[in-house]
Amino acid sequence: MSMHGNLRDVAIPDLIQLSCQDRKSACLKIEHLGEHAALYFRDGNMVHAVLGDNSGEEVLFYILGWEEGTFDLETGVQSPAITVTSSWSSLLLEGARRLDEERNKDNKLQSKKEIYTEVDSMAPKFDEILKEMSGEITGCIACALVGMDGINLASHTRVKNADPELMSAQGTMLLKLVDTAVDKLKAGQIEDDLVTTANAYMLMRFLPGKSYYLAMVADRKTGNLGNMRLIGKTYAERLAKAMPR
């Protein structure tokens, strides 16, 4: 199976998450201004990155800043080497930190790593708010506060086999795509996206600033859409106020 497209529509971190969540062997080829990189995946992680004569984690950090170009993702391709051993989520975090440092060299604002550290210390408070919220959503399966990198700041599940990390990663890719579509169509500022499926309602609502969103999943049979949207709006405001400045 293959997928190809433009980096303007799907960013490299999202492609990496997609490939890792798929847990299949795959090769992601990326072209940017004449440079050609290849990332290889196996069993839910990135195992090799190569660009010209260079390979390893530094290749990934170099290409994470590419916003223009094309990609080609093909599954079933075995990696010719193992040059990456860190987990994909830690690599993306480190990559994001480096990009921020590079962009804000003369800037006096906090680096993204410092922001994550500060936000991480708020996690117990977010957990409490989410737990309270999940009690108010009829038929709640799970809820999470998610960064636009797809990583949970906090989550709460009311059903045993719910996987909030997987939900957040998938939800983030979808929300980013919808946000891009709405923006390109000049259809206004997106507030939320609701997916109705055979088994569930999945609602994703941006917090102000659109760096984070609130994700809620409720059972289709017992959930109530109006209740979900109202509770989601109320608690999104509350979570936004609890965010560090």
């Binding site: 529509d9 969540q21 996987d163 997987l166 939900m167 998938q170 939800g171 890719m173 979808l174 795509l177 919808v178 891009t180 579509a181 709405v182 390109k184 169509l185 000049k186 259809a187 206004g188 500022q189 997106i190 507030e191 939320d192 996206d193 609701l194 997916v195 109705t196 499926t197 055979a198 088994n199 569930a200 999945m202 999943v217 289709r220």
Partner: protein, 123 residues
Amino acid sequence: MPKLDQLIQQFRSELGADFVSTDVVGMDGMSIAGGSIDPSFDSTEASARFAVVMKLAAKASDKIGMGAVDDNLVTTDKAYIIARFLGNGSYYWGVAVTRNATLGTVRMMMNEYADQIWDAIPR
């Protein structure tokens, strides 16, 4: 496709002043029927972009075990945009209405028309 065009026209009339745009779109992103009252709204681009959205929604839902996708509703400060799979999922039906619209009514109407629209698509 006179029957399909007729159904679309009927639907638009029932929606009234809240109607912005509607398209019946193949999963290749090509619209086969529909139209917009807003000349600045590019329904060709919208059809293509939301075909990708629907494909990703279906894939995401499958991965997290939520079952087949029925529809995707986007709320913006200007509009509601609803994309709903038709029949076997080889087409979707997109509708955009103003924020003044009663969302429950729009969804209910789409439920009523969906099967007829699917039946009217030439196969």
